[in-house]
Subunit: 251 residues, 2 copies
């Protein structure tokens, strides 16, 4: 048994690599992890290209992993949107495979973490990544704000990934994220999310229909970004070429 | 005219996406940037798959960009090893295309910056990336050491990319990099590159023949990693699952 962990990239069925597609063709069972990210194509689009049934697995199913390990004599593919090791669940699965003495082959693909290079901001100069969860009455974590603050102190950019509630089909927008940041700003008052702070909002990076907008928090809060997935970037200290690039996206 | 900037991924000709390959087939001229990174396959391997001539461009040629813009009525592909915006040269080219009013389409692919997820270290917890140049008599920059130190202060991991001297066919090894770090350690004496400091050495990540080794600076300095490309990771504060993963690579 071999488990192929295969990245699907960011946009649609055609972002898979030739190597990834060949591996899928070899597999009897093809599973899809689609709760940490989504493609801009339904599962049927993948199935049509692969000529195989693709079975979506919930987070619980991947964590338990019984389904995946229930085919001792057959090769299995686990498809992951973006690159393979974007979520700890996948690391966990890799560990379980090692425990079961099952060979794992990883086939990498594009990730949002480097697709953001399209904004013109240097990938080298990104500090730690953070994510913004949907706030609830008693849950308003300030950790995304702290991450931006910490990176800024070193002149570094921050990528902020936005919450996904897959079961409810809810995907946080740049607008929602910025509103939540201003709520934290009201408490923390460091001035990093003032109306005039400059940020970069992105939608559908990696797709031909991607949008990148550069403007103040106030401007982007009212800006339309369209379909998911969105992400936000808080730029740090800018090199002149980075400035030139950001000008292209100015609202 | 459309310029397709296409990532090739990390290993061989089959890491290109279906979308990337389709774009190449549409292009009359196919150029390759291969001075910031290399694939584990010669250009002839790419040409065979594409059924097209592939012309390597030097850094200077891409910077001047005359060659690329010399086909006003034809589509051009610029192939980049890894993902597209790994180097400022590519951002510069994108800017020039905008100045020329030429449409650019970006097709992303796997990058070393997320392939390192295979070590088990969480991608979220990487701080700024640094690179280690070959030292020369009067050139021994301490910036890679500073980057590790700064990330460590926040518990973050550091990816250290290693120098490539394409024209001399020289690619820095993990061993060489560690020797240079210990030279800096002798001056700075913060103790982060002592003989017993634990680091992760990687070779050919993204390839089936990749090597990952976890051990002390002393151990990895004498460890064989084989063919390029190599990179080094200095781990920050470890989560228990990260520890479990690193144990797999212990020398």
């Amino acid at each position: 048994m071999v488990i192929y962990m295969i990245g699907l990239g960011l946009d649609d069925e055609k972002d898979i690599s030739l190597k990834g597609l060949e591996a899928i063709k070899r597999c009897r069972h093809v599973y899809l992890e689609d709760y940490t990210s989504i493609l801009n194509v339904p599962i049927s689009g993948l199935e049509k290209l692969y000529g195989k049934k693709v079975i979506p697995l919930s987070r619980e199913k991947i964590e338990v992993a019984d389904t995946i390990f229930s085919h001792p004599n057959e090769d299995v593919a686990l498809l992951v949107v973006g690159d393979v090791f974007s979520a700890t669940t996948h690391v966990d699965l890799f560990l379980r495979a090692k425990e079961h003495n099952v060979r794992v082959q990883v086939i990498h693909n594009a990730s949002i973490m480097t697709a953001i290079g399209e904004t013109g901001l240097e990938l080298y100069k990104f500090g730690k990544t953070t994510s913004m969860p949907y706030f609830e009455k008693s849950y308003m974590p300030q950790s995304p704000y702290d991450a931006v603050l910490e990176n800024l102190m070193h002149g570094l950019h921050t990528l902020i990934l936005l919450d996904i509630k897959r079961s409810e089909n809810r995907f946080m927008s740049v607008n929602e994220c910025l509103r939540q940041f201003t709520q934290i700003e009201d408490v923390r008052k460091k001035g990093i999310f003032s109306d005039r702070s400059l940020v970069v909002g992105c939608a559908r990076l990696g797709s031909e229909h991607r949008i990148i907008k550069y403007g103040t928090v106030m401007q982007l809060m009212d800006s339309e970004f369209g379909e998911p997935l969105h992400c936000l970037i808080y730029p740090g200290k800018l090199h002149f070429m980075e400035e030139d690039m950001l000008k292209l996206w100015k609202v």
